[in-house]
């Protein structure tokens, strides 16, 4: 039965949860909500591809429950369906009873990783990404140089080399000019700045999570986020102690590392009232920090307080109000719902609203816009075959006649950019907040606004 909150006095799990031998096992109150109705089946990308129920949400929940009941063991055969899941949460949206399938999957992965530690190259790769790289901002920046190089040769080169740039409508070429060059990360840029002041009167003060991938590969998105926030009366803080949100670790079953990073972030943002995130995957993770601390009551409470402060940039702007840009962008775009924004945080209309309010932006409907693109954190590295099958059906839904695909998550941006390249499309992949920022910049260039011109 659905309990709103876990009972903090529950004894530690190893006293009677069947074949889950470690602490922090999948929680019974989560699977008890599932009545096996099957309405989740068609929502699941892996079930769509394979048609097999162990690779469906209710099948996975059933297996997870069966281990707790002692009918199955935590072994390779159990690990396969549990790790084949994209953790996209589409099932949570479809589920009539709000079963937290994503939470169950992540907890089950925690058990699998302890029962069957990774070995060989998988262990090395995983260790490299999750332990050596992501939690360390400086190392990431160094790696980021390489990524930028890849991005350049991979994507922009295609545009330029094929002469596509000459075929682009003029306003797009113009936009290319407006677009900021790839710069260094914002954390580096504002290293010595305590508060990035609002333009005009300060109305709010917010802290910003810069993220790891976002800040290295898409520092322009972070830059745009800061521009949009400061333009709308927000002082922006970038707490120095902040670190990777831990989503990739938790998705991979490394809950211990997840907890460590969570604690660091909770402390780093302790003195702020609002935490703004522009990466859906990170935002969702931050909002779910309490799930990591079922067995640490003190941290559970702190995590709850922290999570309540977290908000996605699109929802924050939508809720607190923002200046509608006056310049026209004249572009046809479509919007892709990042799973962890739509299914994970229930944010669907707000980003679309932001886009629709930019003059000259024409929105084209994408069928199944909230279907996973296959990025799913590092899923595209661990399960390339499935990721690419999922990407293929995603790209089939991207309308032909749009110039840009807007979204709110860096993982999706990389994956969709790869899709654009792989299927010979020519859409530009952008973050929602970038479009808003470009409109502001264009307005300033046209002299539509006297203050705050850069």
């Amino acid at each position: 039965m659905g309990l709103p909150e876990p009972d903090l006095n529950l004894p530690c799990a190893n006293s009677g949860l069947g074949n889950y031998l470690w602490s922090d096992p999948p929680k019974e109150y989560k699977w008890a909500d599932c009545v096996h109705c099957g309405l989740c089946l068609e929502a699941c990308p892996t079930y769509e591809q394979l048609g097999q129920e162990q690779h469906s949400p209710r099948g996975r929940v059933h297996l997870i429950k069966s281990v707790a009941e002692g009918k199955l063991k935590v072994n390779e055969a159990f690990a396969d369906p549990v790790f084949q899941c994209l953790d996209c949460r589409a099932c949570t949206t479809a589920c009539p009873a709000n079963v937290d399938v994503g939470g169950l999957i992540e907890e089950a992965r925690g058990q699998v990783r302890q029962a069957l530690p990774l070995t060989g190259w998988k262990a090395l790769t995983s260790k490299f990404f999750l332990e050596t790289l992501f939690p360390h901002h400086k190392r990431l920046e160094a790696a980021g140089g390489l990524l930028k190089f890849y991005q350049k040769i991979g994507l922009q080169k295609v545009v330029r080399k094929t002469g596509l740039i000459h075929m682009m409508p003029e306003h797009l070429v113009e936009m290319e000019a407006i677009m900021p060059k790839i710069k260094s990360s914002v954390r580096k840029k504002y290293k010595n700045v305590n508060i990035i002041k609002a333009k005009g009167n300060t109305q709010h003060q917010v802290a910003m999570l810069t993220g790891c991938i976002m800040d290295v590969m898409f520092s322009d998105v972070n830059e745009a986020t800061i521009n949009v926030l400061t333009r709308n009366g927000n002082d922006v803080l970038i707490p120095k102690k902040q670190t990777c949100c831990g989503a990739l670790h938790v998705h991979a079953g490394d809950r211990e590392m997840g907890r460590k990073l969570a604690k660091q972030n909770i402390e780093a943002f302790e003195r702020t009232d609002k935490v703004i995130v522009n990466a859906a995957g990170c935002g969702c993770m931050l909002k779910e920090y309490p799930e990591l601390f079922h067995e640490e009551p003190e941290w559970y409470v702190r995590a709850q307080e922290f999570s309540a402060k977290v908000e996605d940039i699109s929802k924050y702007l939508h809720d607190t109000g923002y200046e509608i840009p006056k310049a026209e962008l004249k572009t046809r775009i479509t919007y892709h719902d990042a799973c962890h924004l739509a299914h994970g945080q229930g944010i669907r209309d707000e980003p679309r609203d932001l886009l629709l309010h930019i003059p000259g932006v024409e929105m084209v409907h994408m069928a199944n816009a909230d279907r996973c693109c296959g990025s799913a954190g590092i899923y595209n590295l661990t399960h390339p075959e499935m990721a690419s099958a999922v990407l293929e059906s995603k790209m089939a839904n991207v309308p032909e006649d749009v110039e840009m695909i807007s979204m709110g998550n860096p993982g999706c941006m990389l994956q969709m950019a790869a899709g654009v390249q792989k299927y010979g499309r020519n859409q530009r992949v952008v973050h929602t907040v970038q479009l808003l920022d470009w409109a502001y910049q264009k307005e300033d260039r046209q002299g539509g606004k006297s203050d705050g011109t850069k």
Partner: protein
Amino acid sequence: MGRNNWESRDPHIFNLAKLVSGPNSILYKHEDLVAYDCDGFTIERHLPRAVVFPKNTEEVSMIVQYCSENELPFLARGAGTGLSGGAVPLNREVIISMVRMKRLLEVDLENRRAVVEPGFVNLKLTNSVSERGYYYAPDPSSQYACTIGGNVAENAGGAHCLKYGVTTNHILGLEVVLPNGDVIEIAPNGIPDFPGYDLLGLLTGSEGTLGIVTKITVRILKSPQARQTVLAYFDRVQDGSQAVSDIISSGIVPAALEMMDKVAIEGVEAAAFPVGHPKDIAAVLLIEVDGIAAGIDEQIQMILDVCKKSHVREVKVAKDEAERARWWANRKTGFGAMGAISPDYLVQDGVIPRSKLPEVLERIHQISEESGLRIANIFHAGDGNLHPLVLFDSRVPGETEKAIQAGSACLKACADAGGSITGEHGVGIEKMEEMRFVFTDDEIKAQTDIRDVFNPERLLNAGKLFPTPSRCSEMKQELKKAETAR
């Protein structure tokens, strides 16, 4: 599948694997099979021998032939959303999963029909033709996920079947693999009213005991020109029931006429698609009329008048499509929503004459009190199709049995009121014994004789739909006890 992973020592698995093409086309590992130990009816769980995923009729035929020759029990499964256990492998069956046969083969708007493979999902058919102004009428609440093959097996109904009829009224032709592997076509080309015995009618609703459907020609309908939806709240169930009767007797045939009681409302409001029903009302009616635009408003007015006469507390018309969609999502996810207020539920499927509604609901209320289990009622009130949902917790020793008994008692109440034990969910495993409430021994024998014409070895989906002789005598004693107690 690498050689080293070949864990099965069952030679049949190896042989079956050779009959199906493509990667991952057979499951045999214990962990994978656990996901197939039940369908939407979770009380009986049994592991299959294997699950195979054929891509076409030929593969189905070869698998069936192999099973038949080697005397391996087998059955077909779609999305596994059935509520009576029709796809549960009671005899360690080889499950033939039809979900990879999911193509829409043909849409013939001129003749208003479409041809689908059995794994094609119900709602996708409507989605595929709706832009051109057509739809597929049968709309079981599981239509987001359930397959049309499964709909044929169970003769699925749905909210809008009041006006448009259940699945059998929309099936024009079938390709069927018989239990010996032979492939037959019934009513080829979807010609309606093909002469001879009505085999389409016989196969539709045979619950997977006569053959495996591999191709289905269905009727598609022109989307109604206009549609209006009404929500009405009543303080007394009797008033709601009276409104249902009065609406029908006023001559209106609503497209749908649905009812939920207090416990059901608690469930749907606690779940993922709440619409803000008041907590303290006894019954809510969801009424929809559709058809040509002229006359819709008039019908709505008549419905509003009837509701007012029946002391409705509040009644409103959906202001737009979005509101209508919210009301329907709230209703259609009703069964799954019970998960929000109970760990398990058992849904029953009785049919009664509409006039007996208040009386039977009262009896169900008594059953709930006697058993100590809460019972929610969600039902197609317009055609008297009740769905009492018995809420229970299988982790509490003895509660599952109590729930089964309470469910059976609900069906008895329906049968006693001159009704039947299933409207649309099928008999499956769940209601086999309750067949005694509505059929004599001879009548059951006549039907099993028909089954034996198609399925003489009883390898296909055995042990379902009809009571087994041994349990019959127990049931008779039960009936006798009930008689004398009265």
